[in-house]
Assembly symmetry: C2
Homo-oligomer: 247 residues x 2
């Protein structure tokens, strides 16, 4: 049985609390948030507080708070505590607690109103000490089969890569949607293509999966496409086309 205190009231804190509360191998000893209102929905299942001076003892303190608050809040935590944060973009050394440090980073895009199937969520773990790393692996294995040892340098690169495959991909969807709206075509016609595009690269390298007018240097089609786009869309079309061809 691993005991945890979870600090934070955002999406990650919310989903970790839910999954840990429903698992008999983890004991959620306490939740902390600066604004207690935001964690009151858990009041009936677990002790809650908005006072860092009143934190319970636990094997792991999980800081699931905004990147900018990690240094400050960690400095208030008990000296002997093993503290981890859950951020993809913050180095382990940013933690300012007196005791041992680590990272427990679930790499997924969370929304509060959507149930998360943690089985499929990779968790990246890091710790200063090997026994803590093993503790985090054990904790991660309780909720998912995908556990990776990833150090701070690797994690920061993973975060950049995630911007491309998540944020920027989603923006490509937005532009596709905008084009459909402009010309009154239902965007849902493209849903299966979107799904298939994502599914394909789970099996083959994305470079090998590349198709389209840019890839085959089909200038006639490229020119016709450019005529249908607004100025910003054209800029993006040109730049990505160039990158596909020379990348």
């Amino acid at each position: 049985m691993i005991s945890v205190v979870i600090l934070g009231s955002g999406n990650v804190a919310h989903h970790l609390t839910r999954v840990f509360l429903h698992n008999e191998n983890v004991k959620v000893k306490q939740l902390y948030a600066r604004s207690i209102k935001k964690i009151q929905l858990f009041e009936s299942s677990v002790s809650i507080t908005d006072n860092v001076a009143l934190l319970s003892k636990a094997d792991v303190y999980i800081l699931a708070i905004s990147d900018d608050a990690i240094a400050e809040v960690s400095s208030f935590l008990p000296k002997e505590a093993f503290v981890v944060h859950t951020s993809g973009s913050v180095s382990m050394d940013t933690l300012q607690n007196g005791g041992s440090k680590g990272v427990f980073y679930p790499l997924q895009s969370f929304s509060k109103d959507k149930e998360v199937d943690f089985n499929k969520v990779p968790v990246c773990v890091e710790a200063e000490e090997e026994h803590h790393l093993q503790l985090l692996e054990k904790l991660a294995n309780i909720i998912t089969k995908k556990v990776f040892r990833i150090n701070s340098m690797q994690r920061s690169k993973l975060h950049v890569a995630a911007v491309f495959v998540n944020n920027f991909v989603n923006h490509m969807y937005t532009i596709g949607n905008d084009i459909c709206n402009t010309f009154e075509v239902p965007f849902e016609v493209l849903h299966p293509l979107i799904e298939e595009t994502a599914a394909k690269i789970q099996h083959i390298n994305p470079k090998e999966a590349q198709t389209g007018p840019a890839k085959r240097n089909d200038q006639k089609t490229i020119q016709r496409h450019l005529n249908d786009l607004d100025k910003q869309q054209q800029e993006i079309y040109n730049l990505i086309t160039k990158s596909i061809q020379h990348g």
Copy 2:
């Protein structure tokens, strides 16, 4: 029972032939290809030819050939024939047959070595005459539940949108993969995020789904990310970030 002649030997011709051959409501009367070798694998199940003068009669002639060849090959077809092409980017009027014209466009990314589940493939249909449009709808409904009436103007816009949500999205995956390779992080850590990003917009508008440093104008993170990228990646990062912020 709808009878068809399929012309072509590429991915679309291949998969349409397979799905129609396995369906009792369609009779594939003949396959045609300029190079007969490429359709010899179907020889035992259906009549094949490389001579347009020897085409069988059929309710629909399906031209699943390269965009540039559609005008020429269609001009050789029997005068009374109802001819459709399968292209996303070619107008119906490009067909040069003497008879009636139409389009039967399965909107999916096909690879020859990967089985296609046509149930999930949207088919966009268009025809000059209402009774032919109904025939195409009937034919499409045999293989999929997703049938859309889409005219040539709409289809050409859909094709531009598809470049963004398929080709350009795949290139974002490639860049993500390149970043992972450069810093020796397993790309598979990102697979679930990629799947979730695609799944999310099947339910909510992509604009609402947008997250990340660009969206929240997190300049500190943006600068750190730029430091990790090569020149071409930086250009793309900057342009898409700008587009997310002002789009």
